[in-house]
Amino acid sequence: MTNSIGEISECDYLFVIGSNTTETHPIISLQMRKAVSRGAKLVVVDPRKTEIAELADVHVPLRPGANIPLLNTMCNVIIAEGLYDKEFVANRTEGFEELKLAVENFTPENYTGIIGVPAETIREIARGYAKAGSAAIFYTMGITQHTSGTNNVLAVANLAMLTGQIGKPSSGVNPLRGQNNVQGACDMGALPNVFPGYQGVAVPENVEKFTKAWGVPQSAKAGLTVGEMMDAAHHGDMKAMYILGENPMLSDPDITHVQQALENLEFLVVQDIFLTETAMLADVVLPGASFAEKDGTFSNTERRVQRVRKAIEPLAGKADWEVISEVLTALGYPHEYGSASEIFDEAARVTPQYAGISYARLEEKGLQWPCPNTEHPGTIYLHDGKFSRGLGKFTGVDFEPPAELPDEEYPFVLNTGRRLYHYHTGTMTRRTKGLNTIYSEESIEINPADACKLGISDGELVKVSSRRGSISVKAQVTDMIQQGMVFTSFHFAEAPVNFLTNSARDSICKIPELKVAAVKVEKVS
């Protein structure tokens, strides 16, 4: 997030696109409610009539994958009506002409169909956003889990820069991170193309810096992403994998492919707190420790680094950091740490954003990076006065429909997401009595008109199939979802929806298109 959670309630205009905030980020949604009760405008863009959509002044029920048409038409209107922030565009950005050209044909009238609201509404949204004292955009996987994911993100950035709605309090671009420490995992270099602190592996100085810091020559060649690793394993190029706390056998698209890939490995190590579907395929399973059993830090979606404190002894005797350092040592690279805090200090030395952070400074409220030195109070919002790359760059993006569109055989668009009561592949929440009592069974949402056509009634078991597989799951007939679309989550092993999803990936950031797959729904008789 470029802003902080605490700034949301002061925001005048909230543009929420592809985020089911009340279910996926409940505490952030409380701040949004606060803003709304203060009189802020709320626009929610989501194919489903989610709870936050019901709360909105305007709900835009666009077709899945139609993000760029909406964002581009908004830019079109803002430029056409001269509503853009001329000073900001002149002083802080480049490439304005490119954008102008790219959105020229995106008149609201041309796209009302897939956007799902009248042209005049699109105009009003654009005007409201541009003119607001402070406007912030919020998005999650609804934007990124598409083959056009990278372009979607660029289109969001275009809109924010065009109106100067970034780099100010309560005004910015805010991807809401889905898991507790996605932010931190990225910060700490669990990515194939960057060292810790987003220092690119392709930059010679960085390679030199880390070669020196770690005393082992570093490679300048970007590594493989998850999906690419799976492909490589499938081909037999990848021989050994070490998976920590992840369950690709439920979370990744096209499970059949994942399973074949993992089975094809010569050696698989899985470190997890449970014997997950993925761990079942491993050669060695190392028991993990839950968050209650270890010291450490998580970095939340607003870049706040906060303490995780050990409350009980690790059930298996070791915290994960101890296990990994022992493996490192056994591999001939001695790593002996007396505490998690020592590891943090080492990481902070090579990660500029974390340079000023230490456990002692995190005691009460944590610190938001960037925090470059020990006196720095942390950073509440990013890009104040300057973008990290200097000038903000507009990138014209064009609309490309999702990789797999519904056709006669597979007439429905399958959309996937999360539920309030569960988390990720459910390894934790499914083992929690309260949560599993309240929400014990998954279902697939289908519009009453579609259900009627297929003769499906609420609660009935249906078979849902795509080109990659099929699952059976109960139908939930609801007008929350538009016609021609179905929705479910990936939390339940009993309804492993990722057997159906498409692993087609965005060509740049490699995010799979989990939000759109073509499926058919059949009555099970």
């Binding site: 409380l30 669990a190 920590l244 992840e246 050696f267 060695v284 009980i312 990481a347 934790m428 309260g434």
Partner: protein
Amino acid sequence: MADNVTLTINGRKVTVQAGITVLEAAQQNGIDIPTFCHDPELSKPGACRICVVEIKGWRNLPPSCVTAVTEGMEVETESEAVVEARRTILDLLLANHPQDCMTCQKFGDCRLADYAYRYGLRKTTFIGEQTNVPVDESSAVITRDVNKCILCGKCVRVCAEIVGRNVVDFVSRGFTTIVSPALEMGLGEKEAGCVNCGSCVAVCPVGALTEKNMQGIARPWEVEKVKTTCPYCGCGCNFDLNVKDGKVVGVTSNPTSAVNGRHLCVKGRFGYDFIHSSDRLTLPLIKKGGKDGDFVEVSWDEAIRYVASRLKEIKEENGSEAMGILSSARCTNEENYLMNKLARVALGTNNIDHCARL
């Protein structure tokens, strides 16, 4: 300074910011005034009157939570008249309160019990009709015992003003009033619209709303509280893990939390059972007898030695590019940093990723 006023509390001169309440002025100066219905985050009804104080020259005893400080005010927070008034209020509350402290989940952290003890109110002097409504166990996570409710209204306000749900409200029932979901539905009934966030539990001053999973497991004075960060979504809420005898027995709000204050969602507040699930792995497993073989429990030493030797072998044979690491968005920064070193230092590859994209 024009922005400050000086007043006297219990004979002590104090200077505070103008515009604040007498209650806040007292709290800032380490003087504890009892409150039931007041909450700094919520609107102020000034309804319960347990916070009354005596102010020189005033005819009545005003509730300190809604009375602004003024220059030269002379306040007494524990005068005879004040104590008398508080005792009467408590007496009336006790008259319609079940004698359940023996097993009540809130006991030890209950304002009614604390104030009754503080003001030496051993028994009520009133005999009256007692509310007698069956305990609402319909929610999977919250136990709601209306009979213990003192009608402070904090749950109503937190649910409406913060959570935005309006699940519970005052409902008139002939002679009495109770706080309840619409149509006296159970909290757990779907139509009640409760999202089980437990914010109402966090603000309830008595045992009317309590965490179901802690019932019979641990009393407030037996637990050690460890502040930590939630393992679920990216909001980064903080809370206190409640630990008894080396086990996590509950989660309670920690008001000093930067992001969320006392508020949590159902996962953060009630999603901790998995920690002690019987499915937890406690020993390393090695699959013996090939891919279709069975897992055998081994010691940590053996497992780590085996992992290291196999990784080394495969790397030597096939080169670093044949090695891959999936780190975790669920593990700590420290662990991710080490996984990054495992890939880049020990295995010599940039093939490291995690599920940020999922």
